[in-house]
């Protein structure tokens, strides 16, 4: 039975949480999470879970967010399968120590960097990709040999429950635990000391997580968001380029969870003269893609629905709505909406939108977008559609963001070789692929010396000649050192 599951969405008493943490520490302290076999078994268990419970997972995601199962597979389940397989394949390599060069003066000696688990880690995930943002870091934490507590978001309760009900059955229930509950449970969890905490969510809560972590000197990684801009350079674009770009902009905005994604395109920057043609192709493609409202997720809850509708209802903003704008409060559905040049000081342009509203901001020259983007806080991703190599170079060199993707959006998430994480306001710490393993590892320096060679000059009592010898040594000036040592040089 699943002793690892804390069933129910209710908050837990402090005592039970303490017990959970204690069990995890015991499981880790016992040493079994460190073996390759244990890690592989967990990863295989996870793969079985994703395969056998796929239908239930789709159901949970549909109930929580209205996600179509194709979207659920494309963005969450499928990516997880890819990541778990990748980890299984690479694990031996990741766990291997790295030999490093030792200066001659230390001979005989060897030095290595040995990765070890940090111990017991806590993962806070977010409601928008409740499966993906829980299990992707879990893969890394397990691969690194840790015991893990996972706290899914209570705003996606069906997925939280799905995790609580199933993880313990497919993985080591006393070393991998799901803890469900509201914000107070999150706070109580942070009263304990963890060896690492990964938090995915908003900057506001991130601040309190980091402040709580500071009390125990718990290292943290924060995956936040930001306003991810999309620079659209239509200058050399053929009709086909235009269509492909529109497809991909839509795939980067409305397709992932109706824009409720940290790496979703937040707004587009385009030259004045090209705005009409972009808007036209976006409109026609939107119509084709979303003929059926079922193919776009809904807004997660009433509070966010109201937040988004007030962004649109803002008197200064409403006139800029060019397409869409209709809202269904009962079904928490907002139509894909395009706005043209809402005021830059309106909420829709100062806050992260996290919804299916796309402001298009026009600039005189496309190069002006760089200054525009630089003036905002560093986002998790910057996108640019352009065939102009010089513009691409400027975007990379003159802006700062977690990542930059050219001629597409959101897909960087699925590439194991690329570190995924923010900078500045969009957070710190990176994961995915090998970076997940490293996020939850401590790289221990190990140096082995022999007794063979004794350099007495390092010991007191000291005199000038020893100091001179030391000077040569630290500069790796072995020749001069040997000469001085033999008394042939002062």
């Amino acid at each position: 039975m699943s002793t690892g599951a804390m069933a129910g969405a209710g908050a837990e008493a402090g005592g039970e949480l303490g017990e959970t943490v204690r069990e995890l520490r015991e499981a880790y302290g016992g040493g079994r999470t460190r073996s390759l076999a244990w890690r592989q078994a967990q990863l295989r268990g996870l793969l079985r879970l994703l395969k056998e419970k796929e239908a239930e997972a789709f159901q949970a995601l549909h109930k929580d967010l209205g996600k179509h199962h194709a979207e659920a597979y494309r963005d969450e389940v499928g990516v997880l399968i890819k990541s778990a397989n990748g980890a299984l394949q690479q694990l031996g390599k990741w766990m291997a120590p790295d030999r490093v060069w030792v200066p001659l003066i230390a001979w005989p000696a060897t030095a290595q960097v040995v990765p070890e688990p940090v111990g017991v880690v806590l993962i806070f995930s977010c409601w928008n990709f409740p499966l993906g943002l829980s299990l992707e870091p879990l893969i890394g934490a397990i691969a690194a040999g840790n015991a893990v507590a996972l706290k899914p978001s209570e705003l996606s309760p069906c997925t939280a429950r799905f995790l609580a009900d199933n993880i313990g059955n497919y993985m080591d229930a006393s070393a991998v635990k799901v803890v469900n509950g509201g914000p107070e449970v999150g706070e109580q969890l942070m009263e304990h000391r963890w060896d690492k905490v990964l938090f995915t969510g908003s900057p506001r809560i991130a601040r309190s997580v980091m402040a709580a972590a500071a009390r125990h000197l718990t290292p943290v990684a924060l995956e936040l968001g930001g306003k991810c801009p999309c620079i659209f350079d239509a200058a050399a674009a053929s009709a086909r380029d235009l269509q492909v770009s529109a497809n991909r902009i839509i795939a980067g905005k409305w397709s992932p969870c109706a824009g409720q994604a940290c790496i979703a395109i937040d707004y587009v920057l385009v030259e004045e003269r090209f705005a009409p043609v972009l808007i036209k192709v976006l409109k026609s493609t939107l119509k084709r893609f979303f003929q059926d409202a079922d193919h776009m997720a809904r807004i997660v809850n009433q509070r966010h629905f109201e937040r988004l509708s007030s962004l649109l209802k803002d008197r200064a903003v409403a006139p800029s709505i060019l397409h869409g704008g209709s809202m269904d409060a009962k079904n928490l559905y907002i139509e894909p909406t395009i706005l043209l040049n809402p005021p830059l000081d309106s909420a829709i342009m100062t806050e992260e939108i996290f919804g299916p509203l796309l402001p298009i901001i026009t600039v005189k020259k496309i190069e002006d977008s760089i200054a525009f983007v630089k003036a905002m806080p560093k986002p998790l991703a910057i996108y640019a559609f352009t065939r102009d190599a010089a513009l691409r170079r400027r975007v990379v060199e003159e802006t700062s963001s977690g990542s930059v993707t050219f001629n597409d959006a959101v897909v960087q998430y699925a590439i194991d070789g690329l570190p995924f994480g923010g900078v500045g306001q969009s957070g710190f710490g990176q994961y995915h692929g090998r970076h997940s393993f490293e996020m939850f590892s401590h790289k221990k320096a190990v140096m082995k010396r022999g007794y063979l060679l004794e350099l007495t000059l390092r010991y007191p009592p000291w005199d000038e000649s020893k100091v001179t010898l030391m000077r040569y040594l630290y500069r790796f000036n072995y020749f001069a050192f040997v000469l001085a040592f033999l008394g042939l040089r002062r």
């Binding site: 060069w101 601040r207 401590h442 221990k444 320096a445 140096m447 007794y451 020893k466």
Partner: protein, 442 residues
């Protein structure tokens, strides 16, 4: 900037509280750090290509390092030159602007840095701010792109909570009780010398990686004690307080703190060697304790001084549990020729760094990450790790307009889902279909 920093080394040096050797060691380490950075800088700054994989074919992917922005380095008093300048080297190498706040407890070095540094580097991008708690607090209230702090864990917590307000990432180089386990299967004289060098030879034990306490077996302890006493006599003579090779304690606060550790009732009778002190000179002689109680202050707090408790156990393996019952230290040392014991030690003892048969030397290896874990800190530096500590690794993905996979777009059909599944599983047929823009059946 780095070349200028190196020239600083050859300038006439002001009065420093430490020995010539310590000073020279710090300067040499900084110089070699600078040279290492200069030699490798171009390589470090290069973007690294990474496999983009088939999911986004055709595309190229790379990771490009960029500076974080404006960083704050707050350093410590025990190696005031090294711990101030070494992180600054990393910050500069990574292309950041830096504010350095040297420790006010080493005032001579602080003013030396404030005076000399601006003359050798771009003082509009690299600044030194002197001061005490008030100035440090004012600095911490600003928004930085990274904060690098070297010091104790109490202040480390304060630094991290300030950083939390601005979501600023931090590197905390703290300390801890660095244990030395001495097995009977050793070259005892060499081991004793290396332990002594790491303890008293390093600023009288006032170093984050100094051996804090020793664990050995009950049967071996007498031999170890004898050897240590002989070595201490060799190093410092019969009257260590008069030896010029013995560093003094940094100030009277710390002197009194150490005296209190020594004078604690259940500890003072465990002194088996040394114990002399001179308040005028702020010197304490190398002092050995045998089996001080584990709940005494000297065994609970980081000593940071010339006092060395020796704890005995029945079997050497018991040392692991003892070490693990304490918080993770910055460094853990084992003296032994027994390969199995070494393997077990490496596996079971978690510390920032582990050294076999020596103490402290990993500090000088630029290829090893230097940093703590748990209470001893987070993050690492030295060599490439210094560059990495102050760098943001930006992921860059360059996609082509070709390879339009219609399967990823709505409206979703069963056929598209099949292709998606195939692609994410690495099925070649599915990938071809995706690349050709197929949408599958139904």
């Amino acid at each position: 900037m780095l070349i200028s920093l190196m020239r600083l080394e050859t300038t006439r040096y002001g009065y420093i509280l430490l020995l010539v050797c310590d000073v020279m060691m710090q300067i040499s380490l900084v110089t070699s750090s600078c040279k290492f950075a200069l030699k490798n800088l171009k390589k470090w700054m290069q973007p690294k290509k990474v496999p983009a994989g088939v999911l986004t074919f055709p595309s190229t992917a790379r990771v490009t390092p960029e500076p974080l922005g404006i960083v704050l380095v707050v350093s410590a008093w025990n190696y005031p030159f090294l711990l101030a300048v070494d992180p600054v080297i990393g910050a500069i190498a990574a292309g950041n602007a830096v504010v350095l706040k040297p420790s006010e407890i080493a005032p001579a070095t602080s003013s030396l840095l404030a005076d000399l540094l601006p003359r050798y580097v771009d003082s509009s991008c690299i600044k030194v701010v002197e001061g005490g708690i008030a100035e440090t607090t004012a600095l911490l209230e600003q928004k930085w792109d990274k904060i690098f702090y070297t010091g104790n864990s109490k202040v480390g917590r304060i630094v991290m909570s300030f950083a939390a307000k601005h979501l600023t990432p931090v590197v905390l180089e703290l300390g801890g009780k660095c244990p030395v386990v001495v097995d009977s299967n050793v070259d005892l004289h060499v081991a004793a010398k290396r332990i002594a060098a790491g303890k008293w030879g390093c600023n009288s034990g006032q170093a984050c990686i100094s051996p804090d306490y020793v664990i050995t077996t009950k049967s071996f302890a007498p031999k170890l004690l004898d050897s240590l006493k002989k070595v201490l006599d060799e190093f410092y003579g019969k009257d260590p307080l008069r030896s010029e090779d013995l560093s003094r304690i940094v100030n009277s606060n710390h002197f009194n703190r150490l005296k209190a550790l020594m004078d604690e009732e259940m500890v003072s009778d465990k002194i088996v060697f040394g114990g002399q002190s001179d308040e005028q000179q702020l010197k304490i002689a190398p002092t050995l304790f045998l089996d001080a109680p584990l709940d005494s202050a000297i065994m609970k707090e980081e000593i940071f001084g010339p006092l060395l408790p020796i704890i005995t156990v029945d079997k050497i393996h018991e040392s692991f549990a003892l070490i693990n019952s304490m918080t993770k230290p910055l460094a853990a040392y084992l003296f032994s020729k027994d390969s199995k014991l070494k393997r077990q030690f490496e596996r079971n003892v978690s510390a920032g760094g582990v050294i076999f048969n020596d103490t402290g030397i990993h500090l000088t290896n630029q290829n090893l990450p230097f940093g703590g874990v748990g209470e001893s800190g987070m993050g690492a530096y030295h060599g490439t790790f210094s560059f990495d500590a102050f760098t943001h690794r930006k992921a860059v993905l360059d996609r082509s307009f070709l390879g339009e996979a219609k399967a990823r777009y709505p409206p979703y059909t069963r056929g598209k889902l099949k292709i998606l599944k195939g692609v994410l599983k690495g099925n070649p047929l599915a990938m071809v279909q995706a690349a050709l823009g197929c949408t599958g059946w139904a």
